[in-house]
């Protein structure tokens, strides 16, 4: 039977509700499971029974970690969905603009010059400055012409520069310890993060989310191409500013607190797009929820896997993401040929 239009609004709500339920489940699991040899039920019972040492572990170690995985995952998923809509390219992802590489550079410089040892907030602040600088360069490079290609090329340039400078910093690292510190940070992790990290990143993310979520209808119109979208009243410059600005804020803040975590922003929108009728605006909110779920699940896996040394989150998402990326490439090639 042909579904009535109201059906897909219901489906949209059901998908969001299902994802929200999944997030709630992952949050509870993230709080109750950990490296302590204690079942979730026992953990819950002990918490209720007033085990203070356990309460500290749950509230000060596990809670920030779970919160950050949700915030960072949602940021990556949302900005990935918005960028794919803006660039009308299913292979776009937050890293494409070079914002995350530049935030990484900022963080590495903070470690290199020892600022991170002077104050804990120095590293994320430097990372945010890196993201901001990258966005300004990007805006200057891409301002002259509006095509998606010139934006992508500007992103490649910014990203390459940031990677080269990061390599330079690693190359000139004062000692092996500093080197391993920088490399490990770049791999991305949620280990040993505190509520102060949440407090630092959340405001930037909130502003970025608002910018990105407001772009839904205009991204839908962009399905018809730039001229048709403009004839429907879409202000392309303002739309581009919001999506790039929103991505810079959310991904910059995310990278500042976790290091670089790849592929979540690419995959999360893709998983859902077929169920949402491929409408770019409809993919935004579910994309954010799915990104949060993916990252929360990946971080839970990292914590529970009995490896000799805890796996880095960015390593895990990349290992899971690459096969998916290849699958997308093959499928895109089929539809193109």
């Amino acid at each position: 039977m042909i579904p009535a239009p109201a059906d897909d609004i219901r489906r949209y709500r059901r998908i969001n509700a299902a994802l929200a339920a999944l997030l709630a489940g992952l949050t509870v699991a993230g709080l109750l499971l950990g490296s302590l040899p204690m079942s979730p039920w026992q953990t819950l019972a002990n918490l209720v029974g007033g085990d203070e040492r356990l309460a500290v572990i749950v509230l000060e170690i596990r809670l920030p970690r779970v919160l950050l995985s949700l915030l960072v995952g949602a940021s990556l998923g949302l900005s990935g969905a918005a960028l794919q809509g803006l660039l009308r390219n299913p292979l776009a992802e937050p890293g494409i603009l070079g914002v995350s590489a530049s935030a990484g550079l900022g963080a590495v410089l903070a470690l290199y010059f020892g600022l991170a040892q002077i104050a804990t907030w120095a590293l994320p602040v430097c990372a945010l400055l890196g993201a901001l600088l990258a966005t300004l360069i990007l805006a200057l490079l891409a301002a002259r012409d509006s095509s998606p290609l010139s934006l992508i090329l500007a992103g490649v340039a910014v990203s390459s520069l940031a990677v080269a400078l990061t390599s330079l910093a690693l190359n000139l690292a004062p000692n092996p310890l500093a080197l391993s510190e920088m490399v490990l940070w770049l791999l991305g992790s949620l280990r040993d993060r505190g509520l102060s990290d949440v407090a630092l990143a959340a405001p930037f993310m909130a502003v970025g989310w608002a910018l990105l979520l407001s772009a839904g209808r205009e991204l839908d119109a962009l399905t018809l191409g730039e001229d048709a979208a403009r004839s429907l009243g879409v202000g392309l410059g303002w739309l581009r500013t919001r999506v790039i600005g929103g991505t810079a804020l959310t991904v910059g803040a995310a990278t500042a607190v976790t290091g670089s975590v790849g592929f979540v922003g690419l995959i999360a929108p893709h998983l859902l797009r077929p169920w949402l009728g491929y409408q770019p605006g409809r993919v935004l909110l579910p994309g954010a929820l799915a990104g949060a779920a993916l990252l929360a699940a990946a971080d839970l896996a990292v914590r529970l896997l009995p490896t000799r040394q805890e796996l880095m989150l960015g390593v895990v998402t990349a290992l899971l993401g690459v096969p998916f990326f290849v699958h997308l490439l093959l499928r895109a090639r089929r539809t193109l040929s």
């Binding site: 399905t223 191409g225 001229d227 048709a228 004839s231 429907l232 409408q279 539809t335």
Partner: protein
């Protein structure tokens, strides 16, 4: 009532002048054909009229300057169908046609009953109601063209600018689209359509505008615009012409070999 009044429009693309001082008017109820050989500046002129390219001169919509209208006002006044349009995601036909209601919706406002009605009516008129739930990438070329046209109709704008809406359509659907545009104009709108088919222009349009190298060389009835002289000058062809059922047809027949009008 004059809906669109363009005065001495000049457009430059990448420093090159493509349209020179074209003036035109479109009244309610009129279907205008914009004709001319490839590269004559038809598409550029149409895009400039739609406010999508910077131009010299003035375009007035219902007496008001185009530049003085807000983006939303402009989008409601004027619907534009780009040439050879691509659709970047395989949305369903209904979703694509619904995009035509965007100029009528406030940022977070859901579509109201009037919007659904406009979409339904556009689907019906374009003859694609039964395709409404099909994804765009599963449609044939003709179905795609009608979907994109339905998107334009859904705007319910008093002025429609359509760039080659019948290109790549089979004869049946070419006639169908022309009838559709004729009907839309008869309903009180002004429609300007870029065409390559001279007979369709002669049969369906009230006024023909012939563009050559960015200059408006002829304008008026089919009889005057599609004269042997103009066809030779603009298209470098000779044509068979005649009448059937009281309507004129023009069939390009032979390329001109004489070089009299050509620059080296």
């Amino acid at each position: 009532m004059i809906l669109l009044e363009a005065d001495r429009i000049g457009v430059a693309l990448a420093g090159r002048r493509v349209v020179h001082g074209v003036s035109l008017r479109a009244a309610a109820g009129q279907l205008l054909a914009l004709l001319g050989p490839n590269g004559a500046g038809k598409t550029t002129l149409l895009a400039a009229l739609a406010g999508l390219r910077p131009f010299h001169g003035s375009v007035r919509f219902q007496g008001r300057s185009l530049a003085s209208l807000s983006r939303r006002e402009k989008a409601r006044a004027l619907a534009y169908l780009p040439q050879g349009q691509t659709v970047h995601w395989p949305l369903t036909v209904r979703r694509l046609v619904e995009l035509g209601r965007l100029p009528h919706l406030a940022p977070w406002q859901p579509p109201a009953a009037t919007d659904r009605l406009a979409v339904e009516s556009a689907l019906q008129r374009a003859g694609i109601a039964e395709l409404a739930e099909r994804p765009f990438d599963t449609l044939s070329g003709g179905e795609r063209a009608r979907t994109l046209l339905a998107r334009v109709l859904a705007v319910e704008a008093p002025l429609v600018l359509a760039d080659e809406p019948v290109a790549s359509l089979d004869p049946y659907h070419q006639l169908r689209v022309m009838e559709l545009l004729r009907d839309y104009a008869d309903g009180g709108a002004a429609v300007i359509v870029v065409l390559h088919d001279l007979t369709l222009a002669a049969r369906f349009c009230d006024e023909l505008l012939l563009l050559r190298e960015g200059v408006l060389v002829a304008r008026g009835s089919a009889e005057s615009v599609l004269s042997a002289h103009h066809l030779a000058g603009a298209y470098r062809v000779t044509a068979l012409r005649g009448e059937h059922e009281g309507q004129r047809y023009v069939l390009p027949w032979r390329r001109q070999t004489a070089k009299r009008d050509e620059s080296p």
